[in-house]
C-alpha cells in the first residue's frame, strides 16, 4: 500500500509542477489579438446547449477573422466545458484566464453563470452571456445578456396569451429543478393575476423524473384547461406532446424559447407538434438570408440544425465586435480597461442579429428586443401575428 501511495504522490507532484510551469504565461501586455473565452456544458446531460454555443460562436469568430478581424485585430477563441456545474464553471473560467482570456462569452446556463459572475466582477472582466437567462447572472454592471431574462419571458407570455384571447383557463407544467423553467413560471403566475385568464392547474416535474408526464397531463385535462403553458426545454416537450396525444388531450400548447429546437429532434413525429405556439427570438427556418446562411454553415460543422442557444452565441460574438468597435478598445489594454470601455459602449450600440433586429442594452445588462410569436404549421414555423 505504501508503495502505491508513494507512486501517487510522485505522479501528483509531477503533474503540479508541469501545471505550475506552464502557468507563467503573460498575456496582458502587447497582445496582438483579442482573446475571447466561452464556458458551457459540452459533456453531461445539458451538453446539447453548450455544443451549439461552442460551434456557433466559433463560426462567428471565423467569419470575423476571415473578414479582417475587429478593427484589424484577429480573435483567438477558446471554449471550456463546465458540465452544467457552478464549481466546474469557475474552474473553466480560471483555465481560460490562464490562457489569457480578455472577454468572456458565457456562461451558457444560469447556475454556472451565478458562480462565474462573482469571478468576473472581482476581475472586472466583460461578460456577455448568450443564454444564461436568470436575472441574477447580470447582477453586476460588467455582465450583459443576449437572451431575454426569464421573468421577461414569463411576463411576455402571459400578456400575449391575454391580449390574443387564446384561453381563459390555462394549465402549466414546469421543471421545478431548473432555474430557467421556474424563473419563467413564477413571473407568469404572478402576471396571470393581472390578466383575464386563470391558471387552473400548475404541476411540476424534476430532472430525475422527466419521462412520465401522465399525472401532470391528467390534472391539466381534468381542470378543463384550454391552453397548456410549457416553459421548458424541447426534449421534455416532445415527451409531453406524445403523451398528451396518447391520452387524447389537445389544448393549445404554448412555450417559450426553450421549445425552439423541437423540429430538429431526430425522428420526432412532427404532426404532434402541429399548432404548438412559442415565443422565441430565433427560428431556424426563417427565410431571411442571414438566418439561412447561418443554419447552412452551422450544419456543415456541427451536423445538427442550430437551436436558439447557437443563434444567441453567434449574435454574442457580433455584439462583442460591435462593442469593441464602438469603444475603440485594443487588445494591448488591460482587462479592466477593455471592460470599462465595452460596458459603456454596450448601452450605445444597436445590433441587428439572428435573434432580433435593433437590439439595444440597458446599463443593467438586459437586452431590449421584441419576442416573436410563432406557430408550427406543417412542420414549419409560421409567424403567429
Amino acid at each position: 500500500m505504501k508503495k502505491r501511495i508513494f507512486a501517487l504522490v510522485i505522479t501528483l507532484s509531477f503533474a503540479m509542477l508541469s501545471l505550475a510551469a506552464c502557468g507563467t504565461k503573460e498575456t496582458a501586455d502587447g497582445n496582438e489579438k483579442f482573446y475571447i473565452g466561452g464556458i458551457g456544458p459540452i459533456t453531461g446531460g445539458a451538453a446539447v446547449y453548450g455544443q451549439h454555443v461552442k460551434d456557433a460562436a466559433a463560426l462567428a469568430v471565423k467569419e470575423i477573422n476571415d473578414a479582417g478581424g475587429i478593427n484589424g485585430y484577429m480573435i483567438e477563441y477558446r471554449f471550456e466545458d463546465d458540465v452544467h456545474d457552478p464549481e466546474k464553471a469557475v474552474n473553466a473560467y480560471n483555465t481560460l484566464k490562464d490562457w489569457g482570456m480578455q472577454i468572456l462569452m458565457g456562461t451558457v446556463t444560469s447556475n454556472p453563470g451565478n458562480a462565474v459572475k462573482e469571478e468576473t466582477y472581482a476581475d472586472n472582466m466583460f461578460m456577455l452571456t448568450p443564454s444564461g437567462s436568470a436575472p441574477e447572472v447580470i447582477q453586476y454592471d460588467n455582465a450583459f445578456q443576449v437572451c431575454f431574462s426569464d421573468p421577461n419571458q414569463g411576463m411576455a407570455s402571459a400578456q400575449y396569451i391575454a391580449n390574443k384571447g387564446l384561453a381563459t383557463k390555462v394549465a402549466a407544467i414546469y421543471n421545478s429543478s431548473d432555474v430557467y423553467s421556474t424563473g419563467i413560471y413564477e413571473k407568469f403566475a404572478e402576471e396571470a393575476k393581472n390578466q383575464n385568464f386563470d391558471i387552473v392547474s400548475a404541476e411540476a416535474f424534476t430532472d430525475d423524473s422527466d419521462t412520465d408526464f401522465m399525472v401532470q397531463l391528467q390534472k391539466a385535462k381534468d381542470s378543463g384547461a384550454e391552453l397548456l403553458f410549457l416553459p421548458i426545454y424541447y426534449e421534455e416537450a416532445t415527451l409531453i406532446l406524445t403523451q398528451a396525444n396518447a391520452m387524447d388531450f389537445k389544448p393549445i400548447f404554448f412555450g417559450c424559447d426553450g421549445l425552439d429546437g423541437i423540429l430538429g429532434v431526430d425522428n420526432f413525429d412532427l404532426s404532434l407538434a402541429e399548432g404548438v405556439m412559442l415565443l422565441t427570438p430565433f427560428a431556424a427556418d426563417a427565410d431571411d438570408a442571414k438566418t439561412q446562411k447561418f443554419v447552412e454553415d452551422f450544419k456543415a460543422i456541427n451536423g445538427d440544425i442550430p437551436n436558439q442557444f447557437g443563434a444567441d452565441a453567434y449574435d454574442a460574438i457580433y455584439i462583442i465586435k460591435a462593442a469593441i468597435e464602438k469603444s475603440g478598445v485594443t487588445p494591448d489594454m488591460s482587462i479592466s480597461d477593455i471592460t470599462d470601455g465595452m460596458k459603456e459602449a454596450m448601452t450605445q450600440i444597436t445590433v441587428d442579429g439572428l435573434t432580433g433586429a435593433g437590439m439595444t442594452w440597458e446599463a443593467t445588462g438586459e437586452v431590449n428586443k421584441a419576442p416573436m410569436a410563432v406557430v408550427i404549421e406543417d412542420g414549419q414555423y409560421v409567424s403567429a401575428e
Partner: protein
C-alpha cells in the same frame, strides 16, 4: 376513474422498472456486485435499436434482435475487461469500476451519437385499449410490457431452478468456493449471468424507449438507479421480488405524484423505500440473512 387511470399509469411505469430490475437482480444475486453500468447498457441498447430501426429502416423485431445480440456481446466484453480481473478484489472496488464503465458508456455515446436527443419510435404496433367509453386508455406499450415482463420472470425462475446452468448459478451465489469444488466453472457461470442480464437490458430498452421516447446519452442513468431501488425493494437477488418491487415502485411514484406533490414524487418514493426496509430489512421477498457465530 382518475384513480384507476393513475394506477394503470403506475403499473406501466413500474413494469419498465421491473424489467430493468430483473437484470440488476440477476447480476447481483450471482456475482454479488452492483452493476451500476446496467442503466447505461440500456441506453446503448436504445441507440443500437434506434440505428437499425429508424436510420437503416429494418423491421422493429429484427432491430430488437440485433439489439439483444449486440448488448449481450457488450455485456460480455465489459465483464471480461473490467470485472473479471477483479473477482478477488473487495466488492467496493468492483462497484467503483462499474461506475467507471458507466461514465465510459455515457461519454462514448455522447461522442458517437452527439448531444442532440433522438425520438425513439415505438417498436410495438399493438393498438391502445379503450375502456369505459374512452375515459380510460391503456397504451399498446403497456399491454405488451406487462405480460412480457411476467413471461420473462417466469422463464427466468424456471431456468434458474431447473436447468443445469441455472442451478450452477444458485451454487455460485451461495458459496463460490464450494461451487468450484463441485466442478462448476465460476467464471463461465458469471459470464452467462452477464449475458442474460445484458440481453434483458436490450429488451428493457426496447420497451422503455417505446413508452418514453426521449433517447440521449444520459437517459439510462436515472431509470437504472430507480430499477436498482426496485430490486432492493423487492429483495435483491430474488427474481419475482424484482418484478414486484418494480411495479410497486411505479405505482407509488405515480400515486404520490398524483395525490401528494408532483415535485416531491421521488422523495416520497425513497421515503417509502426506507420505511419498507425498516419493516422488512431485506426487502419484500428477500431471504433472511443468517448471522454466523
Amino acid at each position: 376513474m382518475s384513480f384507476i387511470s393513475y394506477l394503470i399509469n403506475g403499473i406501466s411505469l413500474g413494469s419498465v422498472y421491473a424489467i430493468i430490475a430483473l437484470g440488476y437482480t440477476m447480476v447481483y444475486g450471482i456475482a454479488k456486485m452492483l452493476n451500476f453500468a446496467h442503466g447505461d447498457v440500456i441506453m446503448v441498447g436504445g441507440y443500437i435499436i434506434f440505428t437499425f430501426m429508424s436510420t437503416l429502416g429494418l423491421s422493429p423485431i429484427l432491430s430488437v434482435l440485433i439489439g439483444i445480440i449486440l448488448c449481450t456481446l457488450l455485456g460480455l466484453t465489459i465483464e471480461h475487461i473490467a470485472y473479471k480481473p477483479l473477482r478477488k478484489a473487495p466488492s467496493l472496488a468492483v462497484l467503483i469500476t462499474a461506475i467507471g464503465v458507466s461514465y465510459f458508456l455515457q461519454n462514448m455515446a455522447l461522442l458517437i451519437a452527439g448531444a442532440e436527443s433522438k425520438s425513439f419510435s415505438s417498436v410495438i404496433s399493438v393498438p391502445p385499449l379503450s375502456l369505459a367509453e374512452g375515459r380510460l386508455t391503456i397504451s399498446g406499450e403497456t399491454l405488451v410490457t406487462i405480460p412480457l415482463c411476467i413471461i420473462i420472470m417466469v422463464s427466468l425462475t424456471i431456468f434458474v431452478r431447473k436447468s443445469k446452468t441455472g442451478r450452477g448459478m444458485i451454487a455460485v451465489s451461495e458459496d463460490k468456493d464450494a461451487a468450484v469444488l463441485m466442478g462448476i466453472n465460476v467464471n463461465k457461470t458469471i459470464a452467462i449471468t452477464f449475458a442474460i442480464g445484458s440481453a434483458l437490458a436490450a429488451i428493457a430498452s426496447a420497451l422503455m424507449f417505446s413508452t418514453y421516447s426521449n433517447l440521449s446519452s444520459t437517459s439510462g442513468a436515472m431509470p437504472g438507479i430507480k430499477a436498482f431501488v426496485a430490486a432492493v425493494f423487492g429483495g435483491i437477488g430474488s427474481v419475482p421480488g424484482a418484478m414486484i418491487g418494480g411495479i410497486l415502485l411505479g405505482i407509488i411514484e405515480i400515486i404520490s405524484r398524483a395525490y401528494i406533490s408532483t415535485q416531491l414524487g421521488d422523495a416520497i418514493v425513497f421515503l417509502v423505500l426506507i420505511i419498507v426496509l425498516l419493516v422488512k430489512p431485506t426487502g419484500i421477498l428477500g431471504k433472511k440473512i443468517q448471522e454466523k457465530v
